[in-house]
């Protein structure tokens, strides 16, 4: 996969909370997470695209990430309107 910017992701892991269910490693689309024994670890932090799937499926909030719409025009429209970035920017056709 093509690499994006390093040192920007908001992904955080609190290993102490991990119960080893492995769900996060199943939903991560970029191989960011890996099981080491009964606990998860971050093996490729900079590959994280902050999609939020790991946080969504973590039963103990061990993983947190500030996920959201990653489209530039959505951020521009959002900041102009003073709202959150929204995908409805191009009449709902951007994805």
């Amino acid at each position: 996969m093509i690499r994006y910017l390093d040192n920007v992701t908001t992904l955080e892991l609190d290993v102490a909370k991990c119960v080893g269910c492995t769900r996060c490693t199943q939903v991560c689309p970029h191989g960011v997470l890996n099981m080491v024994g009964k606990q998860v670890e971050i093996i490729d932090r900079d590959a994280c695209m902050e999609c939020g799937a790991c946080q969504q499926n973590c039963p103990t909030d061990a993983l947190t990430v500030d996920s959201g719409v990653g489209c530039a025009i959505a951020m521009i429209v959002g900041s102009l309107r003073g709202t959150e970035p929204t995908c409805e920017c191009r009449g709902g056709t951007c994805c």
């Binding site: 939903v27 191989g31 695209m49 939020g52 799937a53 990653g70 489209c71 530039a72 056709t93 994805c95």
Partner: protein, 338 residues
Amino acid sequence: MRVTEAAIEPIDSTFTWRDRLLWWRVRWGIGRMSFAVTPGLYALNDPTPESDVFVTANYRMSVDHLRRALVGRKAWILVLDTKGINVWCAAGKGSFGTDELVKRIVETGLARQVSHTKLILPQLGGVGVDAGEVGNLTGFMVRYGPVRAADLSAYIDAGYKATDDMRRVRFDLADRAALVPVEIVNAGKFIVPAMAILFVLSGVSLSGFSVATMLSQGVAAVLALGLAWLAGTVAGPLLLPWLPGRMLSLKGAMAALALIGLFSLRVLPGLTGALDLAAFWLVVPAIASFIMMNFTGATPYTSPSGVRLEMRRSVPLQAICAVAALLLWLAQRVVEVV
């Protein structure tokens, strides 16, 4: 095939020329929002109570990918109401989410159709679905299948196990090429009007408006925008891995510079003055950079935090280049009269 609590529609795996035409229209963004499939439970190849249940979005392409991947297999297909949006985008918005999945399980009476409690979801649906919560609320156990429907057969045959490769999103040349048409259409919504405005403005000078001037000078302005359009929507996405830099805005500018080099400037009629030339070199990369920065919305690997950083760095530069180019271009018009 009708049952008591909800209609179960038959579905098959055949892909007709009508389907192909629909896909082509979707790719070009022609009325793509009308490609919603009716949500509900679908029966593929007369499934039995033991057959697997696959969950998908009611985006036409999502359903098509799934039914084509399951050729010859008996299966239940549970289509969620995602307002005609694909799985990943809908999951990001929450419409392919825990609430909708739970609601659809109940409404379709799924538990009365199948004798097991296993649901197979597309992996990317995990952005909106909390597997544990679905289990708590419905008793159905969510299993995340592969990212791509095309890997489903291999996944099933391997005992419902996905390889690392099946779990990774890819962004191959073919994936990027599929996005090119809709990128052209979306950017065209502001490029084409800008072309028209610049073409007319080309005829304006201190001595007034002249159609002859417009025709001789306007072509270069239109070609400049056309080149930026081509760089930002075709060259940029296709050449993505090979363009220098990580920021898409930088890649867009690089694609533009490469194209300018390729289309030797001599072929641009009406581009004669030094100021015009400078404006051209500034504006084409600036616009291509802006268009490619927006391609972050279509890529499957850019993070919102990264896009925010990229915008802080790039938008001021794009604006400076565009304004400088406009001033140079106007100055050329003044110089020619003096």
